[in-house]
Symmetry: C2
Subunit: 113 residues, 2 copies
């Protein structure tokens, strides 16, 4: 990662940044999680996605337990610097339910005639 990039990101009042995770091959959006500075550093250093778990208040190496790690191909940041996009190669389902993506429920769908 370029020097000083983390300094230019807009971390929220908890020191976190919203992070979208997308499959680099299928382009499916897999999940949304939160990253703090330490997690971002670990993601870049190890090449595997790390997040901050708000529910457990701890660093979260995705897949450390399940084996479903995510190899990170690229980290992007949005125009105003307050959201990250990780492009990853997942070793298994992203969702704790076993679904490929956490976004498996549709709540509204437009019928195309």
């Amino acid at each position: 990662m370029s020097d000083g990039v983390a300094d230019r990101l807009k971390w929220d009042e908890r020191g976190l940044i919203t992070t979208v995770v997308q499959d680099a091959s299928t382009q499916q959006v897999l999940m949304v999680a939160w990253t703090n500075a330490e997690a971002l550093n670990l993601t870049v250093q190890t090449g595997e996605a790390h997040f901050w778990s708000r529910s457990r208040s701890e660093l979260w190496h995705k897949g450390a337990t399940s084996g479903h790690v995510m190899r990170v191909r690229e980290v992007r940041v949005d125009c105003d610097g307050d959201t990250l996009l990780l492009l990853v190669d997942p070793a298994g389902p992203a969702c704790h339910t076993g679904q490929t993506s956490c976004f498996f429920r549709s709540i509204h769908e437009v019928q195309i005639n």
Copy 2:
């Protein structure tokens, strides 16, 4: 939208839910914004993406000024109900910079040999 869906979403302490916007055709992740209950209702009723602008503290009909509205094909919710994914057909660039996606900056990229 099914009755009562909005009641089952996990709105944050500000009454907002993180919303990822993805191009339904190209699968490119375009932007991340915030939705409140009124914005979600308007999105479903009008078929065009509405958000809550945190910087302006107002309802935001995406494209109302620029003409770059987003027709919404589908609204998905993640496993724990605290993030939405909109699949859209955008009428123009999503980003205020004129870029197709707000995620046009890479801050880390793994070289594939």
